[in-house]
Symmetry: none
Subunit: 215 residues, 4 copies
């Protein structure tokens, strides 16, 4: 996919530029989607176009780096919530944190939906996130707070689904996702004898034979 993105640089200006770039890219992708050009991102970060490619060996790599940041952030939040007293509340807080991150970044969702854009690292981060979600869900499940056949994979998938449900409203009502989070949470905590009509997903398939991203 890409040569290999250089690791985090050591020189202080390089570190600063990397930060600048990630922020600018996140903001720009968030506002306008994955189609914004590298040139715009560079300009928005106040650096030259070449600098983008020094730090990230392709547009796909830049996207992956942003994804990674967000996934890590959410994973940390989830890990912290494992310590929380109320498992059901912890699960709900985790989902709220996740949707909020997704909502902040429109590109995130586009990328999660497109396996072709994902790097190996992103896939690994998603799997780690799924593991944390599984632990949180298991705790709540054990308490009887969620349906017995709801899994951590379900929870992760729902994050993206909730964001997409609310997406068209977010321009005018940035908090509207809370409505759909509640609906979804009521769905997974519904006191119902019926189990769901389709079995829980076994795997979270993220690889794909699609063509490369080109821009």
């Amino acid at each position: 996919m890409s040569r290999t993105t250089p690791a985090v640089p050591s020189r202080s200006d390089a570190v600063r530029n990397r930060r600048l770039l990630l922020d600018a890219a996140a903001r720009t992708f968030a506002e306008r989607g994955v189609e914004v050009s590298i040139g715009e991102i560079a300009q928005c970060a106040g650096v030259g176009k070449g600098t983008v490619f020094r730090h990230f060996s392709s547009k796909a790599d830049l996207l992956a780096a942003i994804m990674l940041g967000m996934l890590d952030e959410l994973e940390s939040a989830g890990t912290a919530l494992l310590e929380a007293g109320d498992p059901a509340l912890a699960l709900r807080d985790f989902m709220a944190a996740g949707v909020e991150i997704f909502v902040r970044d429109r590109a995130f969702c586009e990328v999660v939906g497109r396996p072709s854009l994902q790097s190996e690292q992103v896939r690994e981060a998603i799997h780690r996130l799924r593991d944390v979600a599984e632990e949180l869900t298991a705790r709540a499940r054990r308490q009887g707070a969620v349906r017995p056949d709801v899994t951590g994979t379900d929870v992760v998938l729902l994050l993206s689904g909730i964001q997409h449900t609310a997406a068209p409203l977010l321009v005018t009502e940035p908090e509207a996702w809370r409505r759909y989070l509640e609906l979804a949470f009521d769905g997974i905590t519904a006191d119902t004898r019926r189990s769901l009509p389709y079995p829980p997903p076994r795997r979270l398939p993220l690889a794909s034979p699609d063509a490369q991203v080109d821009g």
Copy 2:
């Protein structure tokens, strides 16, 4: 945006090519999203690039034609279900029909989710769809089968959300959306005194400051 897309042609070869084109475009957009090039669609339909532009005066027009077909299909399904005996079941069937269309078609989701891709006609069709959804929801609501504060707009938004929830699984488990439809349905029919923490969306905002699709 477009000069004016010629109406359905009368000559038999033209009719055939138009059909070929719509099918190829629907399939290609469905599989790979709105970014597929006109050239690929043409090739896939076995016609020359120019023929695409004879039938649809721009890429946006072609996309709109396909969207309109699907939206109309779903609207019809909804209208038919207004006659059904069981309002709750009718609503669920409508949602199933909707998600199934979304699932079939990746471009559909992109267009519905991205105002910048929408033509006026598409917006109108979405609004008509929302109206049908509202009627179906109202019937179920009157019966006490769904929460009092759930609206037709919620239902339409959920269609896309459910599809996105299941999206990563669809490659390996094409029916997985049924699981999340059930979850969502349980969410909107949950017997809960709490009303949702965020008020129902007033409007379905589909206009956008973005530039129109160009290619």
Copy 3:
């Protein structure tokens, strides 16, 4: 240049269509230049695009046919004026007739200026026109009404020059060319001992190695 444009057809509807086309093309070229598309001309003539190519085997041929019509018209006018009583007046009337024809048709000038657009037939017609102009000029010269070293070729060239001088004004002042015709005529009839600083053109070179017109 072109296969061979079919001669004037015999069937009455074909004759009518040919007339319709020539008129529409002349009018359209005149108004908007040689860049108008064949499709527009066809539409403007109320016939199909195919019909244009039945009558004229290429766009260049259509242009040539129009040119020929105008050149013939002017040649006839010139021939008639050979009989006029006042040679100077006859020459001036000839020039007025010529400029008026040029002014009527913007494309005419573009074509006359671009040897690549000219067919053999057009070149021949221009040479015939030059011969008539030469006769008219010779008569006036013999009377002492024009400078001794002014030739028929000069006169023909001036027609196009006068038209171009006035061109930018013609939209708002369609008769403005009369001003520049007068200036030019005063120039060639000026009572001056000096002969012109550059000898009269020997030939009217109209062939060219330029690329073909394509449209």
Copy 4:
């Protein structure tokens, strides 16, 4: 029409390429008219197609840059001639300079003659040129060296007319325009009581309802 064409660059290679490009474009436009493609110009300059668009944000901008250069050159020549001792000679020299530029450049004529090709900047430059021509003409007029009703606008229009008169000859006789300049000059300096049969142009109409040039 154009985003904004970047100013003259500072890096030496860019400066060189910009020069190469302007020269190639000027030469190519001059020889073959405004219809030459950007691709050809790029090839002719020995650079990639993209480089053209880096330096000039559209074809129209490139054309405008070249036109502006020539118009400024001529305006400067005119301004310098305002200091000349002999007003009539100065006017003639100005016209000679102008025709020479026109003769060198076929695109120049097309642009000046076709309002649809003009940018605002070009129109302004033409108006400045007209003002200089008016001063030169006024000086000559005050001396009685030119007809009382000949204006600077006439002079500017004549530049193009003279070029077009000589155009067909220029391939074989590149200096032939001097003949027609003399004729025209004798026309505007003719010692005649008659005023011209059509009043002087009030304005130099350069705006147009036509679409802008696109390529």
